[in-house]
């Protein structure tokens, strides 16, 4: 696929930009934060996004979606990233619906996907248990007791876990703690007995939850995919989610960069614009170069999914490693170049760095993905 957008894609991106600008600028996110909103995102705004079709972009038409590509979803996320719009697209569409599309039975898909496409359902994937991204590190157990399973364990960093209407939980049905084999995915009702959900308040004001499972009973019919083969579902789902998250990161660091370059053109010190200083010009150019590379890599990574290429996993790691470093560079430099005003809560630039910090760690940081890239390339 080309690395340029076609007319329809460009129109979608323009529409997304306009929608976000008019309905959910950064002040929207700020208000949710300051009022300690119980949901953590606006159901009204998300409903409007779903009406525009965004929640169903990658869901096939037979399940009520648009059946478009991940590139299109990435364009929407990029524009959301530019304005730090809180929305459950990653948790619900990429992770939750992603698992159903990859491993769900037809009945499970019919049951859940249409309500995802309509923007009514919020889903959460509870797969993390340790302090950093580690999807095979599963200690939560699922004991088979006749026709049902009993789940015991603790999950952490469950995106939108506090408001999800349905959880997908990874648990071990066999094997050792870090084995890839032996992980099984279960559809769990968050209201079921033994499920305790505690919302975490995070630096980016987005949503994650710690979830405790104590003897939670799950029927065998609520197994998602094959017993013991959960990683076969998780791997491609996490690759796609990672790539789409890098699109959001591209949006957020593009905006942080634009804001900073604009500041260099307006702030006066020593009777001159600070943008005339070579020390700042050269660092701004370094940021520009990183962003140019980032754009190309994100576009190619999104295309790798839609073109069903062999290198989706490689591109997921290439994109996450690059965007993690690029977003870190740009958002940190943005604070420094803004000087004192950049340290204030009143200025938006700090919010970009905070969101970047969360994205950097979500689905693995740069060193995790560089190691994985080398492993995938056979060295």
């Amino acid at each position: 696929m080309a690395l340029t957008l076609n007319a329809e894609q460009q129109m979608l991106k323009d529409n997304a930009k306009e929608f976000v600008r008019s309905n959910a600028p950064v002040s929207h996110m700020r208000k949710l934060r300051d009022t300690k909103d119980a949901t953590g995102f606006s159901s009204d705004i998300y409903g409007q996004m779903a009406e525009l079709g965004w929640a169903g972009i990658v869901i096939p038409e037979e399940y009520g979606g648009l059946g478009l590509g991940y590139l299109e979803l990435g364009l929407v996320l990029e524009e959301c990233g530019r304005n730090l719009v809180p929305q459950p697209l990653v948790s619900t569409v990429l992770l939750g619906a992603g698992c159903l599309l990859e491993g769900g039975s037809d009945a499970q898909k019919k049951d859940i996907l249409p309500s995802v496409a309509e923007g009514e359902a919020v889903l959460a994937l509870a797969f993390e248990e340790s302090r950093r991204f580690s999807p095979y590190n599963v200690k939560t157990t699922a004991d088979n007791s006749g026709s049902a399973y009993k789940l015991n364990g603790q999950k952490t960093f469950v995106l939108d876990g506090h408001v999800a209407g349905k959880l997908i939980v990874s648990a071990r049905t066999s094997g050792e703690e870090r084995d890839r084999d032996g992980i099984t995915l279960f559809l769990v009702d968050p209201k079921a007995g033994g499920v305790k959900i505690e919302r975490s308040t995070m630096v980016d004001s987005r949503n994650a939850a710690n979830i405790t499972l104590e003897g939670v009973e799950v029927a065998a019919g609520d197994i998602l995919g094959e017993v013991g083969k959960g990683a076969d579902v998780l791997d491609p789902v996490l690759d796609r989610a990672t790539i789409c998250l890098t699109a959001e990161m591209l949006g957020l660091c593009s905006q942080a960069y634009d804001t900073t370059v604009e500041y260099l053109k307006t702030r006066v010190q020593f009777d001159v614009l600070i943008g005339t200083f070579q020390a700042l010009q050269h660092r701004a150019v370094d940021m520009f170069c990183q962003l140019e590379l980032s754009k190309s890599v994100v576009l190619d990574a999104l295309s790798s999914i839609d073109d069903d290429r062999e290198d989706v996993a490689i591109m997921a790691s290439a994109a996450k490693a690059r965007l993690t470093d690029a977003a870190r560079l740009v958002t940190r430099e943005a604070i420094q170049m803004h000087g004192g005003i950049g340290m204030t809560d009143e200025h938006d630039i700090g919010l970009y760095m905070k969101r970047s910090a969360a994205c950097e760690l979500t689905f693995g940081d740069a060193s995790y993905h560089r190691d994985r890239f080398a492993t995938l390339k056979g060295f």
């Binding site: 053109k265 943008g275 520009f288 140019e292 790798s304 062999e310 490693a321 080398a374």
Partner: protein
């Protein structure tokens, strides 16, 4: 079949019938035979007669009047059979384009035709001992004397001057004007009386660059391109072409690729090919449990590969975006990034090779090893020549980012 595909068939047939066996990969796939200089010249003339050496130039100047798309097809088909375009040079990639834009019809006829036919080799008389990054401060003087200009002064870092026939040269024709306004762009024969060429030995032991001295050199006034004292406009335009050439965007004979055959079926491989640096590192560092023996270097190799991947994708994206003609200001980033990236990769290879990176010549070191070391040394110039990285950043800051000028 589309018009372009019909054209491709024509080019393919013509190449098949006209390309001599010594100038291409043999049809049975065996190794290519060495070619003699006179065979190369003959092949260059054959290509030029067909307008294939500079396909997009007008026919009146030995070009082919072909579109950019057709030129790309010609290049792809030549790459496919493993042949080369011997005319590719500073003449075709730098001087030719500015002559097309700024020269008179007579000048074009006189100079473009020999460039297209590979008959005259050109060198670039730009830098001077006191004018490197600050090129416009150049001091070489040219004074009008009847039909001639009399030139005195010195150039330095003139690439391949010792193997060139003519020079395109920046000279000061008005010493009283502001520095950008007193410069002219003139062409002359290096065999003229008063020209002395001395090769410069580099830290790599090689000598691609020369000092060139002018003592009362008489250049014909009719070979002054554009208006007198207005040469800086031409000089800058040529620098853009130079940057494109240095970053591999010029579309010349050394372009990689062509389309890979036999990959249309099944899943596309994308970027799943092996890492070349990791392949060499495996030999020097060994592996433990399948991973390279030095985990720090392994991480550095990944970073180098990721930079390379990002850069290649960005060149591809930029080419797709730049369907409009002419080099863009954004092309400035390619020269900057490519030279810095190349230097990092060379440093990395030196680390990977360990003691084997210290060889200069003689036994104990393979040709590949000393080649890498010489390349590491030579590569230090990549971020200096053609505008230093710092100058590139100044240019990008002002032209692309729109940051204000201090003066």
């Amino acid at each position: 079949m589309s018009e372009l595909e019909t054209f491709r068939e024509e080019v393919r047939t013509w190449l098949d019938e006209n390309c001599p066996p010594n100038m291409r990969t043999p049809k049975d796939g065996s190794a290519r035979l060495p070619s003699k200089p006179e065979e190369v010249s003959a092949w260059c003339r054959t290509l030029a007669d067909r307008g294939f050496t500079v396909p997009t130039w007008p026919k009146a100047y030995s070009g082919g009047d072909y579109s950019k798309e057709q030129a790309a097809v010609i290049q792809e088909e030549m790459t496919r059979i493993g042949t080369m375009n011997p005319a590719v040079s500073f003449g075709t990639m730098m001087l030719g384009p500015v002559l097309l834009e700024f020269a008179s019809h007579e000048q074009k006829l006189e100079h473009l035709v020999p460039i297209a036919r590979g008959e005259i080799r050109w060198c670039q008389g730009y830098s001077e001992p006191g004018s490197g990054s600050d090129l416009a401060s150049l001091q070489t003087r040219a004074v009008r004397d009847g039909d001639h200009f009399i030139i005195n002064g010195q150039k330095i870092w003139t690439t391949m001057a010792h193997l060139s026939d003519w020079m395109f040269c920046l000279v000061r024709t008005d010493p009283d004007a502001a520095k950008h306004h007193g410069i002219s762009f003139i062409l002359f024969d290096l065999k003229s009386d008063g020209v002395t060429v001395k090769p410069i030995k580099l830290i790599s032991g090689q000598s691609q660059f020369c000092e060139v001295f002018f003592e009362d050199v008489r250049a014909l006034a009719k070979n002054l391109v554009g208006k007198q004292n207005d040469g800086w406009t031409i000089a800058k335009r040529l620098l853009q072409y130079e940057r494109n050439m240095l970053s591999g965007l010029g579309g010349g004979g050394r372009r990689r690729g062509g389309r890979r055959r036999g990959q249309s079926e099944g899943r596309q491989r994308g970027n799943s090919g092996p890492s070349m640096t990791a392949e060499s590192a495996r030999r020097y560092l060994g592996t433990v449990d399948g991973k390279l023996g030095d985990l720090t270097l392994r991480d550095e190799i990944v970073q180098a590969d990721l930079d390379q991947l990002g850069f290649q994708l960005t060149m591809k994206r930029s080419n797709e975006e730049a369907k409009t003609s002419g080099p863009s200001a954004a092309s400035s980033m390619f020269k900057l990034y490519m030279s810095e990236m190349g230097k990092r990769r060379s440093e990395l290879m030196m680390k990977v090779m360990g003691y084997q990176s210290l060889g200069w010549e003689g036994p104990g070191f393979s040709q590949e090893e000393t080649g890498t070391t010489r390349g590491w040394l030579r590569g230090k110039g990549s971020s200096i020549e053609g505008g230093t990285s710092e100058i590139q950043k100044n240019v990008i800051a002002k032209r692309v980012l729109g940051l204000p000028s201090g003066d």
